[in-house]
Amino acid sequence: MVAIPDFLPALPEMFLACAAMALLMLGVFRGADSTRLVSWLAVGAALVAGVLVLAASGDRAVTFAGMFIADDFAVFAKVLILTATALTVVLSVNYLEREQMDRFEYPVLMLLATVGMMLMVSANDLISLYVGLELQSLSLYVIAAFRRDYAKSSEAGLKYFLLGSLSSCILLYGASLIYGFSGTTNFERLAVMFSSDVPAATGVVVGLVFVAAGLAFKISAVPFHMWTPDVYEGAPTSVTAFFAVAPKVAALALFVRVLVDPFGELLAQWQQVVWFSAVASMLLGSLAAIQQRNIKRMMAYSSIGHIGYALVGLAAGTEEGVRGVLIYLAIYLAMNVGTFAVILSMRVNGRMVENIDDLSGLSRSHPMMALAMAFFMFSLGGVPPMAGFFGKLYVFMAAIEAQLYVLAVIGVLTSVISLFYYLRIVKVMWFDDLMETIERPARASALVIGGTALFVFPVFYVFSEGILNGAAAAASTLFLR
């Protein structure tokens, strides 16, 4: 007699997986011209899944033999992931049509990747962690190379696949070490084991470092960031937009859960690793982006830097720190989706342009778009009163509370350095003369740009307490023990 597991906590995931399958069917039967329909239905599915996720907030449930956990932390991360997915699918509809790669598999793959991400943030076991991670990664490998006839895109897909597999191997190796030395893969049992007085076996610590390395690859934290600029540049822009947000949120949430939940007692061991990675990411992200001419590459380095800031919160290893990470991710999402919505609108005479100089004089041809982009850039640079400032404020506050003064100071200094290239974009748009007129953005893109810009300033202020409370509730679930 096999006990039937409780399916209810995983309802959103199952709904989304079924929806993806149904949409696949729809696409197959409707034929090639169904991309638009499938895309909008995918957006709808993501929204419904979001409602299902929110409906379960406040509860904590473990199911599937302890492999899967649904708690407020997962709810917060999943809402972010689903929002990112929905927005980037909206952005890609017009892009795919214009670039003549409108195949219905695209939104379906994005949904499947999203299911993988949701499994990641709900993982309560190294096995389910790996399954979720691979479901996400496999879908991402495919959409990175979605433009088959374009060498750079294929190269991006291949590069991402090879390095991604390598990182998966590292992660698996680490997981097997942990299993070998502790005898379990379950997070709760691991946590119980480490909270005892017996010091953790060296093998477990080595395994933890390997797992952290594998996850650091997924969030493109230094020194596992090398793939990021090439993949960002090579992948179709709508894919890059997706890459920049949803997988980052998922992988970072997973990173936080793994380090804080089962390995929370080993803080002293992993804190140094995260500290180093945060410092290196912030430095590299801010310095290497200065010389970029391609805006997608620049955003790649920018995202490396931002992961560094988020890691500052994790390095604190406290509830405040985790709260800071979650708030950071929420703001990061809005800034990046908005920026990529603008990048996706950079189209001159029917072809895409990607150089920063192509934005020159944007404030004359599209003042509102230029204003929104200026909002995003100032926000990414952490200039108040934009929301990005608050993201940084919270992680730095957590770092100072945890007495990581050097980390906070380096963070503040690198955000000043990073201002150079964010300001350059503002300068190009507002101070330089108009060179080429960028075409009017599609209506959906314009809405996304406007909405995210308003979120960055001033809507964030109005809802800041709600977002903070959500993040606080989410963070506290990881520190129940």
Binding site: F378, P385, E401, A408, L413, S415, F420, W430, E465
Partner: protein, 516 residues
């Protein structure tokens, strides 16, 4: 009166105006005209509302008034707290007063992208008023930094040929400075457990910590003030900025530094202030003498006024750190006077520049003959800048010197030489511009002030004279607050054992205006 949030309204009304300008659509010419009209009316109404603040302000109460307090982010003890005391109220008025003048001054001189310019100007006003009324450190920091965004665009989009370099230099200098302030704020939050600035004032911070915090804040405010040697961004920013930008920069934004020094360094970190007094005196004296000499050597009139601003700010920092009633009263008076005088001088330069398109002093000459009204107006402000008795400039400089004499005779003596140098470069400027032969064709063709120009020069002239002849009308509003600041300061120094009871009694002796 007290039940509606007048400070919030004053802060955000310009932002509402900016948003409504954003909505204006249609033909270019019509849009421009409407944008200007909306900006003018919004800023005028804001000014009128700020007059209500003054009318309802009780000068005998040295504490914060018209308080507004709302929960904002309780999990971090961040709240939305606003209030004015005798010191900040004048800066709020200075901001709201100068904005409509800037709109008027840009009426014809800004001819490209008028809509965006007016938006930037109104956003700037919101940030300035917000900063002077904020009593929560996060709020304070938000507005303090928020000023940079519109100003960066104003310099970069509407500025002169070197605008991009100037805008970058301006932005990065001030941003790097205030980032240090952010770290200091975070450190204070950790110790005091709140972002409420009223609580911070009473919180005794450990002596060594105070020194670090003081340095963090000082650098931020020193860049903004600017204090020599962190002033190098200022001449660039002034020269390249359009007239309205220069007016705002000199008129209000420099005051943020001086205001911050009083509000944070002096009030919250008394022991460190005591420790660093001589250091600030040296910087102030160097600023006064050195930048006056530099001003003397300028051939560009905007640059000359810019350097003279640095020198005038030297009196301000000197006055603040005397920690005497006269010195602090004088420093605030000097800031207010400089607000009006420097703004007016930049407007005068802008008037000439709009016609001749050069700021080189040698390109002018003999203007007194064909531009009598302009020559008169310029003369009033020139004399105020020099510090002639009867003008606003005299009171501030005199009081700061008086304060300095009580504390350190050498400092006062060196600072006095700045007066002579100041007179030298301003009179030289006036002679070259207005006297001599009227032999340049361009200058001959210049037109004199019209009523639209008089509309903004007349109130400025009036204020300069009122402040000079009847300084108490301004000073009595903030003197009780200053007295309280000084008493608190003395009390904390005594508690720390840095002074004995003897000098503490001097505070009462040095308060002729407060009436006790």
């Amino acid at each position: 009166m007290a039940d509606w949030p007048i400070l919030t309204i004053t802060t955000f009304l310009p932002l509402v105006g900016a948003l409504s300008i954003l909505m204006i659509r249609g033909e270019q010419e019509l849009v421009d005209r409407n944008a200007k009209a909306v900006a003018l009316w919004t800023s005028l109404i804001t000014f009128v509302i700020s007059l209500f603040i003054l009318a309802n302000f009780d000068p005998s109460n040295p504490g914060f008034q018209m308080m507004e307090e709302y929960r904002w982010i309780p999990s971090f003890n961040i709240a939305y707290i606003k209030g004015v005391d005798g010191i900040s109220i004048w800066f709020v008025l200075a901001s709201t007063f100068l904005t409509p003048i800037c709109v008027l001054a840009s009426w014809t001189t800004i001819d490209k992208r008028v809509k965006e310019f007016m938006i930037a100007l109104l956003v700037l006003e919101t940030m300035m008023v917000g900063m002077f009324t904020a009593l929560d450190f996060v709020l304070f920091y938000l507005f303090f930094e928020g000023v940079l965004l519109p100003m960066f665009l104003i310099i970069g989009v509407w500025g002169g040929p070197g605008r991009i370099y100037a805008a970058y230099k301006f932005f990065l200098y001030t941003f790097i400075g205030s980032v240090l302030m952010l770290l200091a704020i975070l450190a204070m939050y950790l110790v005091a457990g709140t972002m409420d600035m009223r609580v911070m004032v009473d919180h005794p911070f450990a002596s060594t910590l105070q020194l670090w915090l003081w340095v963090g804040f000082f650098i931020a405010f020193a860049v903004k003030t600017p204090i020599w040697p962190l002033h190098t961004w200022l001449p660039f920013a002034h020269v390249e900025a359009p007239t309205a930008g220069s007016v705002m920069l000199a008129g209000v934004m420099l005051k943020m530094g001086g205001y911050g020094l009083i509000r944070v360094n002096v009030q919250m970190l008394p022991e460190a202030t005591f420790f660093f007094t001589d250091f600030v005196f040296v910087l102030s004296v160097v600023a006064i003498i050195y930048t006056s000499l530099v001003a003397l050597a300028q051939t560009d009139m905007k640059k000359m006024i810019a350097y003279s601003s640095v020198a005038h700010m030297g009196y301000v920092t000197m006055g603040i750190f005397t920690m005497t009633q006269q010195g602090l009263d004088g420093a605030i008076f000097q800031m207010l006077s400089h607000t009006i005088v420097s703004a007016a001088l930049f407007l005068c330069i802008g008037f000439a520049y709009a016609q001749l398109h050069t700021r080189e002093i040698v390109k002018y000459g003999g203007m007194a003959q064909n531009l009598p009204r302009y020559a008169f107006v310029f003369m009033v402000f020139m004399l105020a800048s020099v510090g002639l008795p009867g003008t606003s400039g005299f009171v501030g400089e005199f009081l700061t010197m008086l304060g300095a004499f009580q504390v350190n005779t050498w400092v006062a003596m060196f600072a006095a030489t700045g007066l002579v140098l100041g007179a030298a470069y301003m009179l030289l400027l006036y002679r070259r511009l207005f006297f001599g032969k009227l032999d340049k064709d361009g200058v001959k063709a210049m037109r004199d002030l019209r009523w639209t120009d008089t509309a903004y020069f007349a109130p400025l002239v009036a204020i300069v004279l009122i402040m000079g002849v009847f300084p108490a009308s301004f000073k009595d509003v903030y003197a009780p607050t200053v007295e309280k600041v000084l008493l608190d300061h003395q009390a904390s120094l005594k508690a720390a054992g840095l002074i004995d009871d003897e000098p503490g009694t001097q505070v009462a002796d040095r308060t002729p205006t407060s009436g006790n």
